[in-house]
């Protein structure tokens, strides 16, 4: 197929179409809605054979997605932000069912305050639920990752649902040229879903998701799910090779950009990493040995792959587009846990919070992060997590607060006038 200009949402829909998903339970939410609208249009025009059903909530949507996968069809669904959290109970539940399907999450900051633009607190709230997670930075990656996600999810050693994540607005609504995989080649890469004996049919009674009594059986099934997720790392590498063989593109468990000979490496996820790449190039131009690592898989966590790149570095600067309130960056904890106590672990890992609610991260801020990290290396002292915010932004919010206060004072004055005797 030729290259097409597609938004991230369009690419996600193409992923579902090329995977020949049988079933799409849906519920609208910005900025994901374009995905389900695109699928609805194709289904209406009979360009896609799937059945789509409009559910009453994301909680119901994820339940139906899980139960349909447990019955033995290929399922695709999508949501964002509040929707992912509204369905959070079911994310844990259907992962426990070991129901394999693909959910695209279009990241968006969480309320309150309610907003539209992206950060990763939504997807990271689903970090521990048992879904595997692939994080994309380009529209090409979105369509390819959806296909790879099905292979991973449906593998008999894995059987877990997968979330493919893309950033709202920055990727969901950005058009990029996308090389659409050829449909016949996709069938070769991703044969029809075979549920084996885990399905519901008359004459073959099966009980799924039954209760257990006591910690023994409970722990067994939880550990089994964890081991399957760990196993999926090997499965991913198989899938990555097969994909590269068939389509000539390779999407690893992480993207390493000019990191090999770097002294200090940025680590960040998602589409904002393209901003970091630009900063890396500028820093390299001025003679600084800087690189970037962008984990694509968050679950399973590619700890060994990260160690291979990051051990031996002088410093690592982790940029979290999320905020664990009262602690700091979530990715920072994960990276630190992967490196601590390992041979040649970087002595300094600095933490930066940025890009919340779509807030831009400017080139100067990347340079400042490197300066801070170099200073920390020199002082042998890790600084506290830094919340990125400029003096200009502070002046702007002060203006908004000024307006809010004037309104409040005006109302108070009016009320005082009215209540005068």
């Amino acid at each position: 197929m030729p290259r097409k200009l597609l938004t991230g949402n369009g690419a996600a829909a193409w992923g579902a179409r090329l995977a020949e998903a049988d079933y799409v339970p849906a519920f609208p939410i910005t900025p994901q809605t374009e995905i389900i609208e695109t699928l609805a249009k194709w289904i209406g025009k009979k360009e896609m054979a799937a059945r789509m059903v409009n559910m009453d909530s994301e909680h119901s949507m994820i339940t139906a997605a899980g139960s349909a996968a447990a019955t033995g069809v290929r399922v695709f669904t999508a949501t964002s932000s509040q929707g992912l959290l509204y369905g959070l109970e079911m994310l844990y539940t259907v992962a426990g069912w070991r129901a394999p399907f693909v959910l695209v999450n279009v990241s968006r900051g969480l309320a309150a305050p309610i907003t539209m633009e992206p950060d990763h607190n939504d997807i990271l709230a689903a970090r521990d639920c048992g879904f595997l997670q692939i994080h994309c930075a380009t529209c090409q990656e979105v369509v390819d990752s959806v296909l790879m996600a099905y292979r991973m999810a449906e593998h008999t050693d894995v059987r877990l649902p997968v979330i493919v994540n893309l950033d709202g607005f920055y990727l969901s609504f950005t058009r990029e040229p996308v090389d659409l995989p050829d449909a016949d080649k996709v069938r070769e890469f991703l044969p029809a879903f075979d549920p084996h004996e885990t399905k519901f049919r008359a004459g073959e009674p099966v009980s799924q998701a039954v209760a257990v009594l006591g910690g023994g059986p409970y722990s067994y099934f939880r550990y089994e799910t964890h081991l399957a997720a760990l196993k999926s790392l090997d499965v991913y590498k198989e899938v990555e090779d097969d994909f590269a063989d068939l389509f000539g593109r390779r999407h690893g468990v992480l993207e390493s950009y000019r990191a090999e000979d770097a002294e200090i490496v940025f680590v960040m996820m998602g589409s904002f990493a393209t901003k970091a790449k630009e900063a890396v190039d500028r820093l390299r131009d001025s003679g600084e040995a800087i690189g970037l690592v962008r984990p694509r898989l968050l679950r399973p966590f590619p700890a060994e792959d990260l160690r291979q790149i990051l051990c031996g570095k002088k410093g690592v600067a982790v940029i979290d587009q999320n905020l664990s309130v009262g602690m700091g960056g979530i990715l920072y904890s994960e990276i630190s846990a992967a490196l601590y106590g390992r041979k040649d672990a970087p002595p300094i890992i600095t933490s930066f919070i940025g890009g919340l609610g779509g807030r831009d991260i400017k080139p100067e801020e990347f340079y400042e992060m490197i300066t801070t990290t170099k200073l920390a290396i020199f002082n042998k002292m890790t600084p506290p997590p830094r919340l990125l915010y400029t003096a200009q932004e502070l002046r702007e919010i002060r203006k908004l607060q000024g307006i809010a206060h004037v309104e409040k004072e005006d109302k108070a004055n009016v009320k005082a006038e009215e209540t005068k005797p």
């Binding site: 049988d22 009453d56 399922v75 519901f200 008359a202």
Partner: protein, 308 residues
Amino acid sequence: MNEAHIERMKDLPSTHLLGAGTALCAGCGGLEMLKEAYDILGENTIFVNAAGCMTLMSIYPFTPFRGSWLYTSIASAPAGAQGVRDALDVLKQSGRMSEEEDLQVVVLTGDGAASGIGLSSTSGAIDRDLDFIYLCYDNEGYGNTGQQTSPETPHGARTATDAVAAGFPGSKKDLFAVWAANRPAYVATVIGSEALDLARKIEKAKELEGPRMIISLAPCPTGWGYDPKETVEIGRLAVKTGIWPLKEYVDGKIRHTINPGSRRPVEDYLSRQRRYAHLFEPERNEKVLAEIQQGVDDYWAAVDAEES
């Protein structure tokens, strides 16, 4: 069960599908209903369950069911049924599954899931005209957690969370009316103690397509406070006092299948249960007793006016 329609008690199945020895309480009115209903539904049934008493029917690695089972969550069993039904239809339509392999999809929940926390997913299933049967065992409270107030708790009943002097001040939600207002294929109320009426309604529901709701009053020895051996008697009194009307909605019309005629006073039903003891001791609460009787009298006056 043979092909003939159920007309008399002797037409009821004499062998039973549901296995014994579950973790449910002795004298459970919900289990009584389920046992009777399952014989009619047959083993080619998948139960999609919400959190509640019945979740303890299937504890790994045991199950009393001859057919399939899927536990979902407290709020989303009808959505689980949607996914199963749609998947089976997709498989049939694409030739990946035969008609013989098809299943009757049955949601099995308590009243808290049916009328409260799960009402959104139920409402969605009705809107989408989902082809399923919903079996609700209504024990008028969150029974599995110790009988806290649910949307189905009746006026004046004491619960673990309405332990006040006069009991629950609100009134029982009319789940039958909620369903019937949305014109589904079938809605019926049943009770295990009226086995023939129950069997006929399950049989009728099974023959229809679309959203079908069976609401069973489920006398609950532990939650309501009576001896387990009295479950059948309490159920009969619920019908004879007119507190639990047995009726069905089909083709846009509501019909009462058993009219108690000269009704026993509600006190005959209430006084047998500890949840109403505060209405009789240390002194009679004439106000609440009269309110409950009045509610029943008004209901049947409206029925008689409508059906005469």
